[in-house]
Subunit: 226 residues, 2 copies
DNA sequence: AGCAGATGTTGACCGAAATCAACGGCCTTC
DNA sequence: GAAGGCCGTTGATTTCGGTCAACATCTGCT
């Protein structure tokens, strides 16, 4: 099943509320996609806009020689597949098993124009998206490897962390290379930096896909300093 | 005169047409701002959305220690000042003398909601913006210094280049540090890379603020390779 | 006109992160 | 359960671009 084009990074606000999307045209369909499958490719006709319900997707662009930049990880509440024209402008794949709500774009290509409320919500979502992307700009352009990794962990902690005693734990469903291509680093540097954070007692790594933050304030400090 | 929050990079399409914006509320006012002045700062109340008419602005974010990332250069036709909430999320300053059209946001804070057409246009503009930003992501995260500078020049060439004989010339109103902070490099690297391009016969530099491209196809090739 | 500060260029050197390489663990597949 | 491939970690080495520094040029100011 091949679907949409994603546009989100870490978005704290579920701007698109359930009832708003439910009111749009024929009720949107929910689909499941298993881990490691593409939803759509750059250049595909952009028929759908997707709302993440469960799981994580990644959106990316590839250069001619294979270099890859991950644009965003789409988490529940995020919207993927917005496009200003008829085509998707990045690839999108599932990172793990995913459940998503599918909105079909109408013929006129400005999606949802018959529903001004949903259009306004989408506009606010897009503006929010732009804001998130701007934060990511300064990360990619001006932060050190340690700052990048700490910022990434801090963002995930804020979004999906579960508090347990004095720790905040969360899963990292994506592999090291995905994180590397998101932060503009090599996967070796991701690994080394995580090891350093563990050695400094700031995080624990119970297994490869889970992080427990032992000192949240120090992590946040590293996200801005060093 | 202090005004808006900008959101654009290099945008080929003047999506916001004159009559659409003119139909919005009380007719928008045109203002002039001279070179080197701020339009607004991060955190300011986002009262206005601006349409660039003439000149160039830069939008930026600053880290605690002074590191700066330029998010976009706003050229005529671009929109600056979109925000998902009541505040601007970046600084904006004029690079040279600027003329711009000012749209006041209404009280409800979702700008222009009474004008569904303009909302749809803005949505398409925002989606286009997101697309441009995605292109910039792969530039910041994965391209070499030469690729970055060549991409920057190629984008400017396509947008504001004037064909003269076999050459395409254009002004670069911003200083080297601005370009550096846009591309995530140091100003010395910008200078060195421009010199290399000149030595290779790909560009001429008649003066510090003007570029003539002698071999456009080689420039475009460098933007993707090397 | 003359001065001061900003801007641009170039060289020397340094360092953070990439690259290259080796290896261990885990998962899939037959 | 053997084989092969991915993934993650760690070490050795390289390299690109940053930093520091010197100097030239330009601009604005009085």
């Amino acid at each position: 099943m091949y679907v949409t084009s994603p546009v989100s990074i870490f978005n704290n606000s579920n701007i698109i509320s359930t009832q708003v999307s439910a009111s749009n045209e024929s009720q949107p369909q929910i689909i499941n996609v298993s881990a490691g499958h593409p939803l759509f490719f750059e250049g595909d006709e952009a028929e759908f806009v997707y709302e993440m319900v469960e799981g994580v997707v990644r959106t990316s662009k590839i250069l001619f020689d294979g270099r890859r930049q991950i644009l965003s990880f789409g988490y529940p509440g995020d919207v993927v597949g917005l496009s200003h024209d008829r085509f998707y402008h990045c690839d999108c794949e599932t990172v793990c098993d995913v459940k998503l709500r599918v909105h079909r774009k109408n013929a006129s290509n400005t999606c949802f124009e018959r529903d001004p409320n949903f259009c306004n919500e989408l506009l606010r979502y897009a503006a929010c998206e732009v804001n998130n992307m701007q934060e990511h700009f300064i990360m990619l352009g001006r932060k050190s490897a340690m700052e990048k990794v700490a910022s990434f962990l801090a963002a995930l902690m804020g979004r999906v962390g579960e508090k347990k005693d004095s720790r905040t734990c969360f899963d990292i469903p994506m592999c090291r290379s995905d994180i590397a291509d998101f932060l503009g680093l090599s996967h070796e540097t991701i690994s080394r930096t995580l090891t350093r954070l563990r050695q400094n007692g700031i995080i624990d790594l119970p297994n490869k896909h889970r992080v427990c933050v032992r000192r949240p304030s120090e992590l946040k400090a590293l996200a801005e300093r060093e």
